[in-house]
Symmetry: C4
Subunit: 206 residues, 4 copies
Amino acid sequence: MEVASGLAAVAKGFHARGWLLGTSGNLSAVVQREPLRLAMSPSGVDKGELRPEQLLSIDENGKIVSAHDGKPSDESLLHLRIVKDRGAAAVLHTHSVWNTILSDLYASEGGVTIEGYEMLKGLQGVRTHEHTEFLPIIENSQEMPALADRVGQTLSKYDGAHGFLLRRHGLYSWGQTLAEARRHIEILEFLLETMGRTLRIKGKTS
Amino acid sequence: MEVASGLAAVAKGFHARGWLLGTSGNLSAVVQREPLRLAMSPSGVDKGELRPEQLLSIDENGKIVSAHDGKPSDESLLHLRIVKDRGAAAVLHTHSVWNTILSDLYASEGGVTIEGYEMLKGLQGVRTHEHTEFLPIIENSQEMPALADRVGQTLSKYDGAHGFLLRRHGLYSWGQTLAEARRHIEILEFLLETMGRTLRIKGKTS
Amino acid sequence: MEVASGLAAVAKGFHARGWLLGTSGNLSAVVQREPLRLAMSPSGVDKGELRPEQLLSIDENGKIVSAHDGKPSDESLLHLRIVKDRGAAAVLHTHSVWNTILSDLYASEGGVTIEGYEMLKGLQGVRTHEHTEFLPIIENSQEMPALADRVGQTLSKYDGAHGFLLRRHGLYSWGQTLAEARRHIEILEFLLETMGRTLRIKGKTS
Amino acid sequence: MEVASGLAAVAKGFHARGWLLGTSGNLSAVVQREPLRLAMSPSGVDKGELRPEQLLSIDENGKIVSAHDGKPSDESLLHLRIVKDRGAAAVLHTHSVWNTILSDLYASEGGVTIEGYEMLKGLQGVRTHEHTEFLPIIENSQEMPALADRVGQTLSKYDGAHGFLLRRHGLYSWGQTLAEARRHIEILEFLLETMGRTLRIKGKTS
């Protein structure tokens, strides 16, 4: 229940910032590893009003094992892949104006390169602002198993990445705790907004 | 009373986001179909402070049938038209900075074409981001019966549209439930802001 | 006390929107006409934390008549001029990013012309979006009696204006009630932001 | 404890404005001068959820003297330098999108020149909008003792400055009271945003 309350609080905060409008986005956190039980936000619910008891419990195949009528998000497969491949304890997915814009603007380059910002130090394992973070961009798709495979390949290819973008869709990040996942989202959203606003003054130079 | 509380909560949330400033905008929801009774926000009230008991009850001609001294918005006729033509259960009308800007910028094209965004999937009946949403723009007017007729023609011509813009005025959307109407507004506001901010980086290309 | 509570609530709301940062701005409302008693926000107080009992009572010359140690804002003279010349019951003065920018950008033209927006209809006495509102810009100064005279001349010259800008300083508006004054500020702030953001897409054309 | 509650309240407010996202930024206030005891925000804590009892007490060398397991921010040395060199009672450090952008854009000029804005009058000792504030920009570094020395040299060279920027990192300001420090941050953030948005309309002219 503590996990569910934590997810609901994060959802409410992100909704207030405009990162989860229109029931978009989804959130999950590991409740138990063996066998895997993931608390997962239901599909189609206003994230500003998500209540802890609405969180679904799903197994490693994305099947609901709690007594809920709702259905899990189609993107549960992506959450499960990240939990398995990264050993993450929490996965958060936001739709913000700025992540949507940059996921499109940098699509032809395969990702967004972020470097030289102090804010990067808040990403797990990063010790200096001289870090280079490459946020891969994956083409959007409604074929979830195929998309989950591309996510898996991307996580493997960019094994230091703290998140990725789905083109014209949104941002995924994760952490070893829910607090770390939230911190990663706040940092990446901040940096994408900073880069987007800088582009408008200086033009796209990278 | 539940309908009225729901409308007041939506009004408060949208006011906080700056979409209903200066007593602008209005909200309605069907309380009863036969004969039609619509709960309608009164004219000239601060939407951040709208109380459930202030919602007017109007009939199919826009006449107040509740014991209120207030007057309904001039735009009640547009709400009634949408309720009848679309079978909507709730109609929401917002004045945001971004919907005002895009309603003017795309007026010569007759509407805004939105396509390729995942966020579109939150619109009722849309299954893929490859959807093309055309948001028609109607020239603004103070002649309400004539404007209601143009709204009716527009709804008929663009029968798949989930909303429309009044030029330099605002956005209308609706839903089969109040939650659906709110979701539609949040999605369309998000997409208009995303397109507006993209325009500033890339220029207007469509 | 009701007047003071109302002013404190408006201050809190505007501070949250970033229109009264850093103890900037000030608010007043008429408590009594004969002799004139104006409830006035004290100088140097955080507007997000203004308490009703902190409101000063000043007379027609700006002298404090309540038992307060604080001092009234230097700009009390401007409030008093507006109360007298316009018969206003409330005067509000905000420092927003957008009003600061436009007060500078349009200074050489003597004011900002706003026309064709539905939002204008929320200004007292305006019946159609075809209204033209001219918001005069007055050069900023620290010489309060002289500035109050220029405000008086401006109010007289533009007798239909619902507000004015001080260059690189802020917006003044007022109303026959506190609610009307608040509505006017929200509308003018909305329109200045809309025009400012439009400028960035289309360039300055007027 | 009052100092700690005050810092927690400021942290919560600034987090809501997006100036302390992702556990970034830090805050301190003097509890006692002889020997020096500084209440300091711990490293890695979400500033929107900072509780008074989490504030560390550090001595003049940055060593924790309270019974806490947490560690102080690496930047404690900068806070201590400001407290000593300026006689400040509170030091606040924010990471906002706009201060990050301008700290980079003006780095080659050594700082940002801000002049002619009424908002400047809220800075301690400033009596007119004709004031010129030069906000020095210091190159970012992870070598804290060396960076603290550069901060000391900068404070000495620009002895009238009310704050400084670390490049691509953030803003520092301070005050003789916590309220004054908060006011200074709000004013400088407002002015940096105003200048940044103006740049996008007029281009960089200074």
